[in-house]
């Protein structure tokens, strides 16, 4: 069991104007499965290669427990990275591929054979050991790549987008396999992904990276319900933002005073409410809304509303949305327990907004 920690890790590629990784501090708890989440180009893979020793940081340190490993070559770190592409060595059989790392360590052929056979069974590929990688499907290749890393029993396992090359039907299976093997072995694991749903379903904790910086790190529920900035909220599908002032449990907003949950911070804030938490019907903090548009999304319907000229968005089940034609008036309510206050933009949100200004702020 090993704790992985990054201290002020920084990397700028030669010739690039902007740093790819801007000083990251992150502690990945021993035995945890942490997702390093972020949009493409935010520096996730760079961070992972810095940990694996495949890139050298400009500044900062990587530690396993308290021992710095920043200057060690990749093969002596006890950290194994599995790339997005399975990268199975084409001239070796599946068995030889899985045994590659053990062979490099100079283990006896008998011991290698035993470990590889056990590993093949664990990733449910028994009987395929003598094949060449090209004879395997994409999903099977990905499992071999995982087995090839796990058989080394690394202190830290790094997985770069392990599901992105798979068909949607195989993703769930692979996700369960990763989760199961990780819990079984207890290896501290960091998974890079750009897919927030995947991160939420897979990981104990999520470290969200935006523009080369760590935006928030915590359990998935926290990033959903208690985002640290507008950028984090928006990354997790937040669309409703209201600027205003919090005073003694009341939020003074363009929609008038709104009752806040107890313990809400005071001062200039931005209020956010997840679209699925906006209640269509009477309740606390009621307002009259006009339906602007209804969009069918499959399992959910998106309803665009205007309240006092401000745009709000709600997600609801299709049967609740039935009969809500554009132009209809209805009462909506903003449940206090679902209201979350963000610091005013730019003061704490490290990432800054990445998209256009939310409609409710523009109004």
């Amino acid at each position: 069991m090993t704790t992985l920690s990054l201290h002020g890790l920084r990397k700028t590629y030669p010739g690039a104007g902007q740093a790819a990784v801007h000083g990251i501090d992150l502690t990945v708890e021993s035995g945890s499965l942490t997702a390093l989440l972020g949009p493409s180009g935010c520096g996730k893979t760079t961070t992972m290669k810095l940990i694996a020793g495949l890139l050298t940081p400009d500044a900062g340190e990587v530690r396993l427990d308290s021992a710095p490993i920043t200057t060690l070559p990749p093969e002596r770190r006890g950290v194994t990275m599995v790339f997005q592409n399975p990268l199975l060595f084409p001239h070796l059989t599946i068995t030889q591929n899985i045994g590659f790392g053990l062979r490099m360590r100079g283990l006896s052929p008998d011991r290698i054979e035993d470990s590889v056979a056990a590993m093949l069974a664990r990733v449910r590929l028994d009987g395929l050991g003598d094949r060449r990688p090209a004879a395997l499907s994409g999903g099977q290749q990905q499992r071999v790549a995982l087995a090839r890393a796990l058989v080394l029993q690394p202190k830290v396992l790094l997985l770069d987008e392990p599901l992105s090359n798979l068909d949607p039907s195989l993703r769930d299976e692979m996700r369960q396999l990763i989760r199961g093997l990780q819990q079984e072995t207890g290896i501290t694991t960091l998974v890079v992904t750009h897919d927030q749903a995947e991160a939420v379903a897979l990981a104990d904790r999520i470290a969200l990276m935006l523009d080369g910086r760590l935006a928030q790190h915590g359990p998935p529920q926290d990033l959903y319900r208690r985002p640290a900035s507008i950028a984090v909220a928006r990354f997790f599908g937040g669309v409703n933002f209201l600027a205003g002032k919090s005073q003694r449990g009341i939020f003074h907003s363009p929609l008038g005073p709104l009752t806040l949950p107890t313990g809400a911070p005071e001062g200039e804030r931005i209020l956010t409410l997840r679209p699925e938490a906006l209640h269509l019907g009477p309740g606390p903090n009621p307002r009259t809304a006009q339906v602007k548009a209804v969009t069918f999304l499959g399992t959910q319907n998106r309803i665009d509303l205007t309240v006092d000229g401000l745009l709000l968005q709600a997600l609801t089940t299709p049967d609740l949305a039935a009969g809500m034609a554009p132009g209809t008036s209805l009462t909506v309510s903003l449940p206090p327990e679902a209201l979350w206050l963000l610091p005013p933009d730019g003061t704490r949100g490290t990432g800054g907004p990445t998209g256009p200004v939310p409609p409710t702020l523009r109004a």
Partner: protein, 267 residues
């Protein structure tokens, strides 16, 4: 391609390659063969007996040529492998210039450089020595080696090496167990080229070796100009031997399983 067309093409190719060699075989065993006779009057092993005897110097010359071509190939590999890797994998400032400089010896006629080169090697005390000849042979050999290796590395994904390192392989282990198997077919082609370019050097060997380094092409030429068609033919047949031999040994690796390997690296 239909089988019949394939067979036809194969026959035509074999004809072009083999037919010109048949008169050589005939000459090497001919004893008196005058115009307009279609075949030699008498068959004899005289030319072969002479060519294979120690006094002719053919065998010694064969050994010298093999040594020079092997050394040239290995030295060229030492430079061409890393150079080809850099040129094939990375885009850097001045890459075009490096390629042009590499190609320059292949574009310039040998006769243009040979005299200046001889002067330099004389001052270095390398004129008329085997190391001098090897150095001179590197000039036409290096472009072939480097350009083939550049093409090989342009198709190689260095992520395989990173993956090997992350799985605990040292840089040397990574080269041996991951890089080398992947580049092997191209590497063999490059070495084959290099060996044969050195093997067939005439002008550079003549000028730099100053007659003291007697390679097969030199010997061949002197017998040819002396009008000994039978001995020339025997030496010529010995001369094409390594090319055929290397081709036979490596053909399977180059075209068969080995070639499939690099293709599979990049599906």
């Amino acid at each position: 391609m239909r089988p019949s067309l394939r067979t036809l093409a194969g026959l035509a190719l074999a004809g072009f390659l083999v037919l010109p060699l048949l008169p050589l075989v005939a000459w090497s065993v001919a004893r008196g063969w005058r115009f307009p006779a279609l075949m030699p009057d008498q068959v004899s092993a005289q030319a072969w007996t002479f060519a294979l005897s120690s006094q002719a110097g053919v065998l010694a010359s064969f050994a010298t040529t093999t040594l020079i071509a092997t050394a040239t190939t290995l030295l060229a590999l030492l430079v061409g492998l890393p150079a080809g890797r850099a040129l094939g994998l990375y885009r850097f400032r001045g890459r075009g210039l490096v390629l042009l400089l590499l190609l320059a010896p292949a574009l310039l006629p040998g006769i243009a450089v040979v005299f200046g080169l001889h002067g330099i090697l004389l001052r270095l005390g390398l004129a008329g020595t085997m190391p001098g000849v090897i150095l001179a042979h590197l000039i036409p050999v290096l472009p072939y080696m480097t350009l083939v290796m550049t093409a090989v590395f342009a198709r190689f994904d260095p992520a395989f090496e990173q993956q090997a390192r992350s799985l605990g392989a040292t840089p040397l282990q990574t080269f041996r167990s991951v890089t080398l198997p992947a580049i092997m077919p191209g590497l063999m082609i490059a070495c084959l080229f290099a060996f044969l370019v050195s093997w067939s050097q005439y002008l550079l060997t003549l000028a730099v070796g100053a007659g003291r380094v007697q390679t097969l092409p030199l010997l061949l030429f002197s017998f040819a100009s002396a009008g000994r068609n039978d001995i020339t033919a025997a030496i010529a047949l010995l001369y094409i031997l390594p090319g055929l031999l290397i081709l036979a040994v490596t053909a399977r690796r180059i075209t068969g399983r080995g070639a499939a390997l690099t293709e599979r690296l990049h599906p």
